[in-house]
Each structure stands twice: as structure tokens, then as C-alpha cells.
């Protein structure tokens, strides 16, 4: 790297410092601190003491608030492990479904003529022209008990089915919203696989299955890794999909964080601690997917 190119990176480094590193540091600080009530002597007054003093009408003297270091927020998030597990589980299912649907789609698109490829890509992107919230809201009216799908099924004597407010609906919302993020990186890597490579594999005696498993799949791994990350990360931290399609009873980790910041339970310290755990999970996921294409991922991968 020359001196000049280093200089060119300065704007991004400033951006990185202000909008990534400082907020990250703040989250860590919030996660490991809490505000406590102390009296004049500096003794910490617990919530139970405050409650009982209030009930008995006792005045505890001059009380002030202080920020202290604590591990309580981190241990408190343990209680929400079932939510965490559910988020990981649903995001995982959604990611696998996206891969299963997206992989053949991306492969087929990459084998079309150039003008057709453009057209198909536009079709993949088309739903994203509409606002994310509206798209999810539309699924609500489709899936409802008196919604369009149940009305249609009712015409042929089926149903009504309970579709809205289930985990299935949440996964559907994730797959629908994040599928383009799987198809696009896969497509961009697959267009680079030359047809002549496939022909060579055939000439050397590979049947179509072997061509796929020994040529196409290994060459597309960087795209798979990118696609998985780009679907899994937003899916695990979503909150609006689970609120609209899950009815608030299928709470995800994103809802829990939202609840601590903008929702009812205003507790930024706990919210920051949950975010920290979420970040660790995402870090793990990205490390694993990066390891997936570790051998020779020179070029290609978007991330």
C-alpha cells in the first residue's frame, strides 16, 4: 500500500471511527454498567428496599443516582435464552430455505443469455422497489383468518387455516424479504463460471451430478458464504416481521431489544447487553461461513 492510497482511505476511516467504533464502544459501556440509587453515605439502595420503604412511608434521606460497573445485565440476558434460541432457529430455517430456493434460481439465471439475465435480475429485485413495511403488511392481509388465502381456499372447501401469528408466518416473511440478498451474490459468482469449464468437466467424463458436486458447487462457495451472511444477519435481528406476522407472541431477539429502547420497558443497559450477545452470535456465524470458503477465495466474495 502506498502512502497516497492510505491517504485516500482517510474519509472512510473517519466515518468508521465516528459511526462504528464509538457506537460499539458505547454499547459495551452500557452493557457493563447500571444506574443505582445511593444514599448520602454511598450505600447502594436496592429496589426491594425502595419498594418496602415506599410501602411503609419511610424516608431514606438524600438519594442520588450513580453509574457503576456490573455484570448483572449480562447474566440477566440469560433469562431470555429461549428467545435467543428461537431467533437463531427461525433465522436458520429462513436461511436454509433461501439457499434451497435461491441456489437453483441463481444458477438458472447465470446460464441465460445476457439480455435475459438482466431481465430476470430485475424481476428478482422487483419486490424490493416496494417499501419493506408495506410488503410485510401485505402478507398480513394475505395470511389472516379472513384473509385472501383463506378466502380462496374456502372457495374449494378447505380451511380456514391458522396462518398468521405463527412461527411459520415469521419464517415466510423472512424468506420473502431476504431472498434477493441470497440470489444476488450467488448469481454474481456463478456468472463467472465459464460454460467451457462445465464442458471440460463433461469431456473428462463427469456426469451432471459430478459436474455439480466437483465443479459448480466448489466454485460457488464464496457466493454461498456471502448469501448466508446477508440473509442470516438481518433475519436474526429483525423485529418488525415478527411483530406483524408473529402477533407479538412469537417474540424474537430484535423485539426484545426494541422493547428495551423504544418500547415499554425502558432499560438501555439490558438492551445493550442483549445487543452484545447478538453481535457475538453474528460474529460466530460470519466466522463459520468465512471458513466455508477459506481455501481459495481469491476474489469473488462480496464480503
Amino acid at each position: 500500500m502506498t502512502r497516497k492510497s492510505r491517504f485516500l482511505a482517510a474519509p472512510y476511516l473517519v466515518w468508521l471511527a465516528i459511526f462504528t467504533i464509538i457506537p460499539l464502544a458505547l454499547i459495551v459501556v452500557f452493557a457493563f454498567t447500571t444506574t443505582v440509587t445511593v444514599d448520602e453515605t454511598g450505600r447502594i439502595i436496592t429496589a426491594e428496599e425502595l419498594l418496602s420503604a415506599e410501602a411503609d412511608g419511610v424516608v431514606l434521606g438524600e438519594l442520588t443516582e450513580k453509574t457503576v460497573f456490573t455484570l448483572d445485565n449480562i447474566t440477566a440476558t440469560s433469562a431470555y435464552m429461549p428467545v435467543m434460541v428461537r431467533s437463531i432457529w427461525l433465522a436458520l430455517i429462513a436461511t436454509v430455505l433461501c439457499l434451497v430456493i435461491g441456489y437453483p434460481t441463481a444458477y438458472l439465471i447465470s446460464r441465460l443469455t445476457f439480455s435475459r439475465q438482466k431481465m430476470m435480475l430485475m424481476l428478482v429485485m422487483l419486490p424490493m422497489w416496494m417499501n419493506f413495511l408495506l410488503r410485510t403488511y401485505a402478507w398480513m392481509t394475505l395470511l389472516e383468518r379472513n384473509g385472501w388465502i383463506n378466502k380462496l381456499l374456502g372457495l374449494i372447501g378447505l380451511g380456514p387455516f391458522e396462518m398468521i401469528n405463527t412461527q411459520g408466518a415469521v419464517v415466510l416473511g423472512m424468506v420473502y424479504n431476504y431472498l434477493p440478498f441470497m440470489i444476488l451474490p450467488l448469481y454474481s459468482i456463478m456468472t463467472k463460471i465459464d460454460n467451457s469449464v462445465l464442458e471440460a468437466a463433461g469431456d473428462l467424463g463427469c456426469n451432471p451430478i459430478k459436474t455439480f458436486s466437483r465443479v459448480v458447487w466448489p466454485l460457488s462457495l464464496p457466493g454461498v458464504a456471502t448469501g448466508i451472511t446477508m440473509v442470516f444477519v438481518p433475519a436474526i435481528s429483525t423485529f418488525i416481521i415478527s411483530r406483524m406476522l408473529g402477533g407479538g407472541t412469537n417474540m424474537l431477539i430484535g423485539d426484545l431489544i426494541d422493547l428495551q429502547f423504544l418500547g415499554n420497558a425502558y432499560n438501555p443497559n439490558l438492551g445493550a447487553a442483549i445487543s452484545l450477545v447478538l453481535m457475538a452470535v453474528i460474529l460466530l456465524c460470519m466466522s463459520i461461513t468465512n471458513a466455508l470458503d477459506n481455501e481459495d477465495m481469491e476474489g469473488g466474495a462480496l464480503l
Partner: protein
């Protein structure tokens, strides 16, 4: 450039002159309404180029959406020359979070009772100068010096209402008693019940049902109320706020607790719906105007509050949003049919059986918050789960990445 500047200066002078000289004692509003404005100096800030930031609930003021409704903010701007920048919030807690994190400057807030008390306690509100708000005299005495603002120094009531049960008459059995909170725990309606997604209202219902005060700070009572809410969760279809319009309107659910004014709007859309007020008692809420600390336009804000307490303006707002007006002269200006509409103006008997929220102590509030999070997300696992998972996740990631790095190094060497 210069020419336009001269022109705009000239224009401003003309504007000012017309405003100062032509302000008539009786100000005829464009929409044909007439108010006697002679007893108050509305235009004193007209030339100061003031913009007032108003932060209100959504759908909670008579504004012209293109259908010729009385436009409160438009009329105010025309009358006083003060610009209004109007924005909305969805819950008291959202307003609190915005205010608490700083950075945003509002001049007028319209939170509910218990939140006003909390904002006063935390020193986030400015004392009002009631000399600028003579219309406060129009307010019913029962709305003066409320529990959340005992000396009545910080707030002026805007609208008030009560919580009841909206139900779909085609889905609820005629013989079932809807005038009790118990019906929200009736297993017959499993998966047909909607519930508040805000903790204060949800706990209010559970407390009334158990015979406690909704303002209880007793730990055992709060835990018992939370237990009941956990049992109810198995029957609840969804936890909602504004989504209720869609769901009740479309016949998605049979029963849902909600605010009376919104219920009236829902019934207007779907005649199958009806509204019942549980006899165990319910919450009577008051939303009131406040000025946050740090407002740069305090006097303009007080002029705004005074304007909204004008008989006609209060009347229009009450008619538009369907909630009770605390302004006596506005109530008296209602038609007898409107006064007799018990959905908007419940009888004194019902109002006697209601409780207004008080501000809970931080300790009690924290307890409710954590109980509420517990209700919404099943809770389990030992406290060491997270630290272990956290360390494991970071450890494995490090190991994977270091291994990759080493591999790459050896490959290049």
C-alpha cells in the same frame, strides 16, 4: 439577488403591517367558524418568525386531511403568525425515550397522566405561565390540580377517555357477560383475544380483575397480576396497539380492550362491533399539554395551549377524535345527542368507578417492566448461560479465524 432581497423585505413589512393593523376583534376563520378573539393578544409574536414544535399522539387532533375538516394548526398559524411543526408519537414510552436521549427539541408535548408525573419528577418539564393561558378558566374543576400535577403548575388537560372492551357481536355469545374483564380470560375465546402491547394498560386490566388498584406498588400483587397475564398469553392471538383497527375491523378477533374514542371510530367502520365497560372498574386517562425544559418558544407554546382551550377549537377536536373534552364551555356547546353519547361521554356513575394512573416509583416501574418482558418472552435458563455462550461464541470465532490466518500464512510461504 439584491432585487429579491429588497422585495422580500418589502413583502415582510407589508405582511407585518396588515397583521398589526388589520387584526380584527372578531376573527372570521376561513371555514366559516367565528371566534371572539378580542380578549387576548394573539398576534404579539407574529413578526418574530417563530416555529413551534408540537409532539402529539397520532390521529389525535382535528387536521384537514383534504376533506374540509377544521384545521387546528392551519387556523392557529393564520391567527398568530406562528408556524407549527407537527409530529406524532405512538406511546408515552416512545416520547419518554425521545426526550430522555436528548437531541430533539419540542415546545409542546401531550403525554398522559402518569407520564406527566414522571416527567415532573425528573425535572424535564417547564412551569407554565398561566397568565398567558386565560382559557384555563374554561376547564372543568374536576380536571384541575390532578394527582399527577397536584399544584397544577405544569399541565393543561387536552382530552380524556376511558378503556373498555371492544367486541364483535357476531363472534361473542349473546349470553356471555362482556361487562367484566374475566371474558378476556375465557378459554372459549382462545386465540380470539387481542391484548394491549403496553405494560401499563395490560397490568391495569389484570389488577382490576384481581381486585387490586391499578396503581399498586405491592410486589406480591404485581407478581400475581403478572401470573394472570402469563395464563392469558395462551389465549391471546396477538399483542397490538394501532393494528387493532385492522384486526377488529376485519373480524379477525372477537375481543380486545381499547380506548373509547378509537372504539367509536372502529364501530363506525364495522357495525358488528360494540363496546362494553367492565364493572370491576377501569382506567380514566387524561392527556395534557406540557412544555419541556429547554423550549425556546415558551410564550408561543402558551399561546398555542390557550388556542387549543378555546371553546370552538376544543369542541372541534373532541368531535373529531371522539374523546371527552375537559373544556367546560366546549362540552356545553355540544348538541344534547352528543352529550348523551355514552361511548364518548360515559355517565358519572361509570366515571366514579374509574381510576386515573398515578406515577409509579422507579422501583415499581422497573419491576413492572421486567415482569412484562418476562410475560412476553418465556423465561428460563440459569444466569450463567449467557456468559458461557458469549465466551464460547467469541472463542470459537477467534479460533476459526486464527486457524485460517495460520493456514494462509503457511500456504504463501
Amino acid at each position: 439577488m439584491k432585487a429579491t432581497r429588497i422585495f422580500s423585505a418589502f413583502f415582510t413589512v407589508i405582511m407585518l403591517l396588515t397583521l398589526l393593523t388589520a387584526a380584527p376583534p372578531v376573527f372570521a376563520l376561513e371555514s366559516g367558524w367565528e371566534i371572539d378573539y378580542s380578549d387576548y393578544d394573539w398576534t404579539r409574536l407574529a413578526g418574530d418568525n417563530v416555529t413551534l414544535n408540537v409532539y402529539n399522539w397520532g390521529e389525535y387532533m382535528s387536521l384537514d386531511g383534504g376533506d374540509g375538516e377544521f384545521d387546528v394548526n392551519g387556523e392557529f398559524e393564520k391567527l398568530t403568525g406562528i408556524k407549527v411543526n407537527y409530529t406524532n408519537f405512538a406511546s408515552n414510552e416512545e416520547l419518554y425515550a425521545k426526550l430522555h436521549s436528548g437531541g430533539s427539541t419540542y415546545d409542546i408535548l401531550i403525554p398522559s397522566d402518569y407520564m406527566i408525573g414522571r416527567l415532573i419528577d425528573e425535572g424535564l418539564l417547564e412551569k407554565l405561565d398561566f397568565d398567558n393561558i386565560p382559557n384555563f378558566g374554561n376547564v372543568f374543576d374536576i380536571y384541575k390540580s390532578p394527582e399527577y400535577d397536584p399544584a397544577n403548575e405544569y399541565s393543561v388537560p387536552y382530552l380524556s377517555g376511558i378503556i373498555g372492551i371492544v367486541y364483535n357481536t357476531t363472534l361473542v355469545d349473546k349470553d356471555d357477560d362482556v361487562e367484566t374483564w374475566d371474558i378476556l380470560w375465557d378459554e372459549k375465546y382462545a386465540n380470539n383475544i387481542l391484548m394491549f402491547s403496553n405494560s401499563r394498560d395490560a397490568f391495569m386490566i389484570s389488577c382490576f380483575r384481581l381486585g387490586y388498584s391499578p396503581n399498586t406498588t405491592d410486589e406480591n400483587e404485581l407478581r400475581a397480576a403478572a401470573e394472570e397475564l402469563k395464563k392469558q398469553k395462551l389465549l391471546v392471538q396477538a399483542y397490538v396497539m394501532d393494528e387493532i383497527y385492522d384486526k377488529m375491523g376485519g373480524g379477525e378477533a372477537a375481543l380486545a380492550p381499547y380506548y373509547n374514542g378509537d372504539a367509536a371510530a372502529m364501530i363506525a367502520d364495522n357495525p358488528d362491533l360494540a363496546f362494553a365497560i367492565p364493572r370491576e372498574g377501569t382506567n380514566h386517562f387524561v392527556d395534557a399539554f406540557c412544555i419541556p425544559k429547554g423550549s425556546k418558544n415558551k410564550e408561543a407554546a402558551e399561546i398555542y395551549i390557550n388556542f387549543l382551550c378555546e371553546t370552538l377549537v376544543a369542541l372541534k377536536n373532541s368531535q373529531f377524535v371522539g374523546y371527552m373534552t375537559p373544556v367546560k364551555t366546549a362540552y356545553e356547546a355540544l348538541t344534547p345527542e352528543q352529550q348523551a353519547n355514552t361511548m364518548v361521554y360515559p355517565s358519572d356513575e361509570i366515571l366514579k368507578n374509574t381510576v386515573t394512573y398515578t406515577t409509579l416509583s422507579p422501583a415499581a416501574k422497573n419491576l413492572i417492566d421486567s415482569l412484562w418482558t418476562e410475560i412476553l418472552s418465556e423465561v428460563g435458563a440459569s444466569p450463567w448461560m449467557t456468559p458461557v455462550v458469549l465466551i464460547a461464541a467469541v472463542g470459537i470465532s477467534l479460533w476459526i479465524n486464527i486457524r485460517r490466518y495460520v493456514k494462509k500464512k503457511t500456504a504463501t510461504n
